[in-house]
Amino acid sequence: MPSIKIDGREVPYEPGDTIIKAAHRAGIDIPHYCWHPGLSVAANCRMCLVEVVPPPGKGNVMRLDVLRWDAASKKYVSDKKPKLQPACQWSCDDGMQVFSESSPHVSEARKAVQELLLLNHPVDCPICDQAGECRLQDYWLEHGRYRKRMKDEIIHKPKAVSFGPTIVYDAERCIVCTRCVRFVEEVAKDPVLEKRERGNLGEIFVAPGRTLDNNYTLMTEHVCPVGALTAKDFRFKARVWFLRTARTVCQGCATGCNAYLDYDPRSMKVYRHRPRENAQVNQYWMCDKGMLSYREAHERRVLRARVGGNEVGVKEALEEVKALLAGVKGDKVAFVLSAQHSNEDNHALVSLAKGSLGGADFFLTGRAPGQADGVLMVEDRNPNTAGAIQVATTTPPRQMSDLLEAIKNGRYTHVIALGAEVPVDAKTLAGLERLKTVVIAAHEGPLTRVAKVVLPACSWAEAEGTYVNAKNLAQRSERAITAQGDSQPGWQWVVAVAQALGHKIGFSKLSELRKSLSGAPTAASASV
């Protein structure tokens, strides 16, 4: 493999790599604002300038005339400096030497760029949502640490401009790196943002007659390296340094975007989703629906057990389940798996059915399909359709319509279901009300309304789980917050039900469950 040297360290590269790409892969950070691995190269911020010595025989470094002031002699003295190159634009060449941290010329250039970027910057940090994860702040600490030398009023520009339903723009904070412009054009395929004016009056604007309202508006905030774009949803809600994060899988659709779920550990409140890079799944992005779906950690939640619509304690609920299911024959029970629940939850229900109750009639529910957007979002709005099907192994689950048909024919007396969402409306479910139905669900939905007993499950935010996406990739999602209300992981409720019925289910801990899951895909085969 060909290689370059960065500050003396050998760094291999792939043909076509720029210096910053090769460095990025090798875990070497070259400071940058405008470069983003998922976007085209603009090379406009000039923060990534490095000194490049071409391989022997492939040209010389151009030397440029600059001027210094010699305070002692009170005279200008001519000096030379090497021509620096932007690492985000310059291609690697075998044997090339790059000086980044080790070049005084590079330090000088970076310091200058940093100073210039802050020249007309409002430094609103105390009221800026970006504070704490802002490159201007980070790089000032690394490359700046000077006092501001321009003491005049900064150039004032529009602040708090609404770009659309989700995004607010602050032109004073904007460093016109055009990441947002490139994102909407190249990834969202909706070129609604452009730059206008020139020189230091430049700003970003929305195409006349439009608002920023595609499926990926929140990504513009995410790619913005400073606080120029903020999300209406997150504005002034939290300071990021109080937040902790968990590596989760988005529950919005079968793409299974990798996400960070940020929460405040003091209040156990979830504040936002951010995309987590995964080249095989979502690259660097998430859609707006997915980004905002963090709210589901708190919204529409089932937090207490219910019997006949009345809230009860965990113990009473289990007693009711026991009474309901006492002596029931497995073949009289419809087992409803959920495309919204993890492999672990579904596997527990399958184990209860096959091992404890001797049933084998599985059905699959989940959210009704939506429209695919050709970027990330697919029709299937459930995170684990593939996983639920795989977990049922030799007894593939049938569709909801089959269940309704069977109920009409008096096939079942009982239903045990995971999840509350069904792809049909509540009226169609009327037949279920007559049956003895136990539903284990995290959210309110059509099934919780018709159930005799509802058991509160943890949402994805409160439980570890494995989800298999549309591309058959099993991915592990971490727990963020602690369980809310009386909720427990879905699989744990199944174990409790089995125990209440006096059956053995073969596992009582997550690790044991996962062992029994082997065969079906588990996180061991997942690449997260």
Binding site: D65, R68, E108, L116, D152, R198
Partner: protein
């Protein structure tokens, strides 16, 4: 002795000199016929031998630039002529468009043939209405005469020429910005590589030539490449032929003059330009458009090294050095567009400096940080200086900001904006300091006399 010539400007004094009839009366379109009878490579070699250095500012050899074009490619090739002429103090291309537009059309035919293009776009600065009109007239005449079209001049080679109106931004004179503007995009310089010869206009291989460069091309085929080059006193430096020199500012007879390459600044200012205005002296000369660092009459050549192109003038006044691309680069300034701006001692150099830097702040496209913010900061400091509000510490920032722009930007606008800063602070530091000490009252307070 000034070697005045009348080649590029041969129709300037003819009645109706811009017409086809006038152009043909002095031998017009014979060169294109000669060129199209040769092979592409022969044409390029002839132009290489002529040592025409680009007249848009950078002085790159025209023939060499043409040779960068791919020999065969799946995509069409384009010739793009830069007539944006936005550099302050520069007004030479305009005279060609108004008074000798057919030389441009003929140059385009030869240029297109040499680079394998069938279309040339002339990108003309918006304000130059007569220029656009005259170019279109010439194109229509040439089409009618069969010089342009499917069979240019009767040869089996299609060529057509179009005039495109710019939208009034200096940055659109930078070649890649011009290409963006030509395509209807925001006029911002592109990243290089790829260079225009690889990916130029509409994604196709293209050559961008300055308008005077292309207007000089027919002359090469009239006298032969080498003979053309030999007309120059700097033939040995591969800086050939004749060119247009402009002089403006505080001189008695400002204007555009054609001479052989090798004219000195002294000749341009004191003879062709008629010397300083009555009762005044020359304080300094910006030699080739506002981007070029200013030279002062008392500046002396310091080139003890025998290998320096300047060595023959070691110890002599810089005003006596022949104006060439390499001689001027070695002087630490630039030949640029070869249009000098003369500053009188009755004018205020600080105001001149301020004026120039206002221009660069206004015209920076704003794409890259050092230029966008640097030009703005410099302008602010000079605003304050002129208003009597600056401190010594502010003056000490100027060269540093300039030095941090140089080499760190996407396009050469950055250098163009920063080099005059380094020039002015070096040559007028006492005047700048006096402004601080006197709270803005030390200068003559006048820029126009």
């Amino acid at each position: 002795m000034i070697n005045r010539t009348k080649l590029i400007s041969r129709t300037y004094d003819l009645p109706e000199g811009h017409t086809l009839a006038a152009y043909e009366s002095v031998g017009g379109y014979k060169s294109a016929r000669k060129a199209l009878a040769q092979t592409r490579d022969q044409v390029i070699n002839e132009v290489k031998a002529a040592n025409i250095r680009g007249r848009g500012g950078a002085g790159f050899p025209c023939g060499v630039k043409w040779s960068f074009m791919p020999k065969a490619s799946a995509k069409p090739h384009y010739l793009v002529i830069n007539a944006d002429e936005g550099e302050p103090g520069t007004f030479k291309d305009r005279t060609i468009m108004e008074k000798n537009p057919h030389s441009v059309v003929e140059g385009c035919i030869i240029g297109c043939y040499a680079i394998g293009a069938h279309a040339a776009y002339i990108y003309v600065r918006d304000e130059l209405h007569l220029s656009k009109e005259r170019l279109w007239q010439a194109i229509h005449e040439a089409r009618k005469a069969g010089y342009l079209g499917q069979k240019a001049l009767g040869f089996d080679y299609p060529v057509d020429v179009f005039v495109h109106t710019g939208a009034g931004a200096y940055i659109c004179g930078e070649e890649t910005s011009l290409l963006n503007s030509l395509e209807g995009r925001r006029g911002e310089p592109r990243l290089k590589p790829p260079f225009p010869a690889q990916v130029g206009a509409f994604g196709c291989p293209s050559t961008v030539n300055n308008l005077e460069t292309i207007a000089a091309v027919p002359l090469v085929f009239e006298v032969g490449g080498d003979s053309f080059s030999q007309m120059s006193a700097l033939h040995h430096l591969k800086d050939g032929g004749v060119r247009l020199f402009g002089v403006s500012g505080h001189v008695r007879t400002p204007g555009v003059f054609e001479t052989a390459v090798g004219l000195t600044l002294r000749e341009l200012v004191y003879e062709l330009g008629g010397g300083p205005l009555p009762g005044s002296k020359v304080l300094g000369v910006i030699p080739g458009g506002s981007s070029c660092p200013i030279l002062r009459p008392e500046d002396v050549v310091n080139a003890p090294d025998e290998k320096s192109p300047l060595h023959p003038w070691h110890g002599k006044p810089v005003f006596d050095v022949p104006m060439g691309v390499d001689t001027y680069r070695a002087l630490g300034t630039m030949l640029g567009t070869c249009c000098a701006i003369v500053l009188s001692d009755k004018a205020d150099p600080v105001l001149a400096f301020h004026n120039i830097m206002r221009f660069y702040r206004h015209e920076s496209c704003g794409q890259c940080t050092p230029c966008r913010e640097g030009t703005g900061w410099i302008e602010r400091i000079l605003d304050k200086l002129v208003a009597g509000e600056a401190t010594m510490a502010d003056i000490d920032l100027l060269h540093e900001i300039g030095s941090n722009i140089i080499g760190n930007t996407i396009c050469a606008f950055g250098e163009g904006a920063a080099m005059p800063v380094l020039g002015f602070v070096q040559k007028f530091r006492p005047e700048l300091e006096a402004y601080v000490n006197s709270k803005g009252k030390s200068g003559t307070g006048r820029l126009a006399l």
